[in-house]
Symmetry: D2
Subunit: 341 residues, 4 copies
């Protein structure tokens, strides 16, 4: 870590800072120029509270030379992590499609969709039972009953299920769930991260509405530091001034994350765009840029013709998407083959 | 609510939509133009899931005429809410200063600061016991012990205490806390909002890193809809491309929120700017623009001269800030006196 | 256009508004509900100043049913625009690679790069002669001499040249230039847009640092409304809070723009990411999602080993990129084949 | 300037880099740690193209110790710049109100408003003659005739006039204009900045839609480096995800800019919020936080009752605003009195 001090730092404060840094078992390498004084810190700087140092009066800036995450870091774990979900492998060249409705609505609905997406080649079934909604008056999901319906669909199709956990107190209900999803709004709900970190379940961690890729990796680090290494990173777009689409999808994040980390990277084209017509082209791009999987909203035709969601695909549209995506697997960007790793 | 349909909507879908809307006890007022067809919905539209309608194939756009929040809405509650914290009134012209350290570090520290900020005129003591940190390796706060030290400082000074709750499982520890703070990263942790909504404690709800003012009010609505009307809204800046300061403070949000809602609005100049030198000028502006209170980080001089945080004020600097802020109370913008309400 | 009025609008103001709208040769269709009053405007609303109406006291909101652009609008021009640059076709299924250095540095440099990128399959040569720099002290480009060197490279290779125009007074110098580039910082330099609109040169219009896709199309409209229909839209990412990359590339913009407009869409992976290692994967994704072309920074090995720019590719790396991109042409997303158009 | 190299940099490249830096008349101070190698550059680093260094393969990051601007820098010019506009002083404790309509519409209109705002205490008259509009079909202003009408209003009232210049070719028309305004969309129109830098007219430079404060100061540097030191910086808010207001106003920018630079700082509460009801409270806050002036949109009552713009104040409302703002002048934050400078 590099600590760049302000011009003519207070001697006493500088001495105290150096003593304090040494007390953290760091070697401190002082280098003074005319314009500036620099401290080079050698040792395990991951234990250093960078904000604390940054806040010091005599400090101009602090620059990490190593990333602040270890377990999620490709440097300390060169090989791709491959996550096994009931026999389905994700990562390390194993690519998957996860598909299903935004919300579980009924047994008929979830079973019908599960059969269709399985037939199309989906490896996992997604579906919301507990729904984060910005309004307390909006539909909050079927909850516990929704989980039960997902398990029925799993029993009928054999597809492992992915569904969102919103609070630690629901954890007991998720014991028989295959993949725990942490939603964008909870990406920095650190207690929730710690609690899923103490389970042994695969976790699909979504990027927050306004979080950097480093923060996403730090949130993965929370889970991993608590013992659970089965983390999948999910790029689902973030909030910008652009209103043409629901979010702005950051596809360049896929190769960026795969260089920095060994964890699988999943892309959610449905929430990213919020427009069904854009889900297929975005899925093709996400595949070619190297995503280890896609999580796609698919909806059948429910009563009242409320079906054709702007964001949800029909089963037929998903059949077509799945075919086109698989045609591109041979062309998917691979950092190791490219010699980037 | 206004639902603007796409050109030449599918007859069957339109009929189904109208039937479904009527089934929600809404009067549906159809109006067809050459270019477009519009549905005017009369009734309690707060129960309508706007996203669901927006997602329909035949719908071009949906526009609420009324805000989606009721309990927090000035229209349904014209008078300012005045919150009483151990005899201290906040809102409705009652302005307060909340001050204290970012983190509780020791009994000596918190008691010393509490005495200083009380002498300067602070009405509440703030201090972090449970700290949300983006790194699992950064100092996470003293936790339960931190709460105990805050209570000691309260006993010594009589100042009510404000401290952050990070997860519902900590609620029992907060029974004797005066004001529960919900941090920016938890603004849309809806289960946490519901749980604090079931308590009778005043809540300081901070705006999220990338949340709109409407979302802030909807999060307040979560708390209020669960029975707890004692909500204070806190503007603390949000994340933008600008890196000169820690966040971009949206001071215009203060009169905006006070027009839309009857809840008190507090400004946090410390997290907003992240720079001690900017805390005073921002505090003056926040006062004049009509904030009901300020929550300011103040730190004493701890060992190792690690004190002068860029963001924390010294007690002396806080004395000066408090004096200057109080001089401006007579000039604070008041929507009612201005005839805006 | 739909004008939604506030509740109980002032009668006189409403009457005046309606008269004024009729004076613009619009049919005004009044529809009154309990909650709201709506005006449906039929006719050529592209002449209506939406901001003026939005600013009226009695108006709650204004919603366009038709996009505010006509010449750039797919509705009024269903077929893809195909732009011919010295025999090279761009758009309508014709895909191209534009490549070259960020700045023209010397004849030796630009000619060498031109030969290499031509050999790799680039159809146009890019190179900066006039450089927009945020610092007046940074290298501003070789200017007029840079244009001369580009023409030498064109003479040697036959590659048409693309280079940036920064101000109208430079237009005479661009008479012999094949494609005029309008940089991101000038996307809303409306006088410059009008002036290039009065030429007959193909224009590569880059999206601004914080501009919406609608604003990009409106800037294209400025050029087209002045008589020049040869506009290529360029997505090059925009500015967000994310600092991992230089900009956030909005690849979903490609199919979005191609649905809304008939103009070719070019992607700039170099400025979008600012990282050479990300240029290839982003180029693959941009190709598959349907971009009509890529504009890529390629640099040879200049003296002083200042070569391997984070953002610029070596000629060898470009050879590889070009091969991989062309392998994906058969898989490029095509809205017409998909039945979206 | 500090150049932090990657681990184990290529020896040859490092040597070449050092030689090249020395060729720029910089002293290079090499400091090697276990983890990292750092180059400290002493000398006039403002001539160094930081992007070029940042782009080098062996470079991890580059950190300026000094700001990249000189003429605008408080360090090189400790005293506040005071700009004289026809006898009106701005800056250095001299505070002004600039007011007038968004657009000049007619002689009757501009003269009437000029008289009213002068009576209220405005020191300058603002009014748009050339209007930047995102649509080529929207009203573009009266142009040359608008300038003539502004001069008539000046002759009638003695108020100096502030109006926007959109392109260098209009400069001859501005010879008799008192203050040239550079709009947000032209903040990085570098040729325009150079051209106004070659005049001797006071310039009101507005912050761009998505520009940092450092970029704003660099744009001021463009003007000053070309010989014109009479620059006023204008904070008018920028674009974020928040749609409640037209822009997000960054009031903390005022004391930030005044610490970094000696130039006057003006705040535009009208464009910042886009809502008339917010203009007064924001003006009070801008005054107390230390703005040297405000530029406010004021409109009279034109025919057709199209008057009460959401964003424009009536003359009566401006009378009230002016009184309240002046009451706060004694409380305006002053960095020198506070000992920050």
């Amino acid at each position: 870590m590099i600590v760049i001090l302000k011009k003519n730092p207070n001697e006493r404060q500088l001495e105290n800072l150096i003593q304090w840094l040494k007390s953290l078992n760091l070697d401190v390498h002082l280098s003074s120029g005319v314009d500036t004084t620099i401290l080079g810190l050698i040792g395990d700087t991951s234990v250093v509270d960078i904000d604390l140092i940054r806040a010091l009066d005599i400090v101009s800036t602090v620059k990490r030379v190593r990333e602040p995450y270890k377990n999620a870091n490709r440097d300390f774990h060169p090989d791709d992590t491959v996550i096994d979900v009931g026999g389905i492998k994700i990562g390390g060249g194993h690519r998957v499609l996860m598909a299903g409705p935004c919300s579980v609505e009924s047994e008929e609905q979830i079973v019908a969709i599960a059969k269709r997406v399985k037939a199309a080649g989906a490896a996992l079934l997604r579906g919301g039972a507990f729904k984060p909604r910005s309004s307390p008056y909006a539909f909050q999901g079927l909850g516990k009953q929704g989980l039960a319906l997902l398990k029925i669909a799993r029993a009928e199709t054999g597809l492992p299920i992915v569904t969102e956990l919103m609070t630690s107190s629901q954890l007991p209900l998720f014991e028989d769930i295959d993949v725990i999803q942490i939603g964008a709004r909870n990406m920095q709900n650190f207690d929730l991260l710690k609690d899923v970190g103490m389970t042994d379940k695969p976790v699909l961690l979504k990027r927050g509405l306004a979080n950097t890729l480093e923060e996403l990796l730090m949130s993965a680090e929370y889970i991993m530091a608590n013992g659970n290494g089965k983390v999948m990173l999910c790029e689902r777009g973030f909030r910008t001034f652009e209103t043409a689409m629901r979010n702005t999808l950051d596809l360049a994040a896929v190769p960026y994350l795969k260089e920095k980390s060994h964890l699988p990277v999943i892309v959610d084209p449905s929430h990213a765009t919020g427009v069904a017509a854009l889900v297929k082209p975005v899925s093709l791009a996400a595949t070619v840029i190297g995503a280890d999987g896609l999580i796609v909203e698919v909806h059948n035709d429910p009563p009242k013709a409320l079906s054709d969601g702007k964001q949800s695909l029909t089963p037929d549209a998903f059949d077509d998407l799945a075919r086109s995506v698989k045609d591109l697997y041979p062309y998917a960007y691979d950092l190791r083959k490219e010699g980037v790793l």
